[in-house]
Amino acid sequence: MSLPDPRGPLSRHLLEHFVQSPHEFSSPSPEGDPLGSDDFHLALYLCYELHYRGLTGVSEAWEWNPSQIAFRQSLEVRFEDALRSRIPVESSNGDIATRLRAVTETDSHPSLADYMRFKSTIEQFKEFVVHRSAYQLKEADPHSWVIPRLSGRAKAALVEIQADEYGSGSAERIHARLFANTMDALELDSDYGAYVDVIPGVSLATVNLMSMFGLNRRLRGATVGHLAVFEMTSSIPNRKYASALRRLGANGATDFFDEHVEADAVHEMIALHDMAAALAEDEPALTGDILFGARALVDLDAAFASHLMSSWAAEQSSLYTSDASAPLSL
């Protein structure tokens, strides 16, 4: 992924060090809203990217550099604290499947999928795809970090889901590839990280959430809860997104969304019952974190949806620009 422009003191600090050979550096204290700041979440996204596909022109040795890890942790602490202070601590009583279902039903944010289905313009749909590219071009990867941290039933279930995400042995069916095809059909740049410069913090935060959960073994319960709710709230919105594309005449771009209607109807059951409920039964101490991961997803997705809807209601682009007087066009 090419290096983006800095957006503030945190990303500037990081980028200045990253272009040099790995060395020791001291970190500034993190500033900005840990749930949505553009600068904060770009900096964290760049730290995590070292563990995925890497950054162009940045030494791979930065991945485990102690100063980089210390900086990343200082951001993670603030991010996790902010989430935990918003999300009520759950007791560990009750049937986890019912409680996870309840988390999805308390999601009261305005329906982005309904807006897309009936009202969005093609430009707005393309913006939506650009936001989502921060995750979808590495779809499933953040949850795969948890595989060696699970055992038994939950592990088998998670791998059953991930195998399907990764195309069941067929590279052209890897879901990230299907998303790239959608971007190509919409005449967007499907290169990994091509749009990182225009993706705002509120969108990057939804991806950083998964990376933080996935890369910290102690948060394995949260990864499982996140994946369960992700799969449980996927089929119906994806049907609406596919319907939006057909309404807009972009029939060649629907495959990714059509695939997810069917695939996630399967994954939902496996994720909820075979993975999350099994993990809660096998490791009851993780129940609170399973629910935390679920609620954190709903919380940050609601902020993401609100950002898109309010930008569009004000007839503005929902993408990030450092120069508000220069409107973006894709």
Binding site: R101, T104, D164, S235, I236, V261, E262, A265, E268
Partner: protein, 90 residues
């Protein structure tokens, strides 16, 4: 010598279960999951392309892509046991 032999038999039986057996599971408040090997056909015997190894078949009746599940059971608040229900033996 009996232990390695027993382990081999267990391994062989696992292979049988995962590769040769079709498993159909009703999930609570959701679809029937079918794990291969299976063949899905219409009533005239023409194959319906399942496109994946594990499929979810609609059980609530509201899917728009029947016989496959599309998640509609959630919006219709479909309720059913994750197993056999209401069945009489005779």
């Amino acid at each position: 010598m009996s232990r390695p032999s027993a382990r081999f038999e267990l391994g062989a039986r696992r292979e049988l279960i995962t590769v040769d057996e079709c498993r159909i599971t009703p999930y609570r408040d959701g679809p029937l999951l079918v794990r291969g090997p299976f063949k899905l056909t219409d009533q005239d015997g023409n194959e319906i392309d399942a496109r994946r190894e594990t499929i979810a078949l609609c059980r609530c009746g509201h899917s728009k892509i029947r016989p496959f599940c599309d998640g509609s059971h959630t919006t219709t608040k479909f309720r059913a046991a994750g197993g056999s229900e209401g069945r009489r033996r005779t």
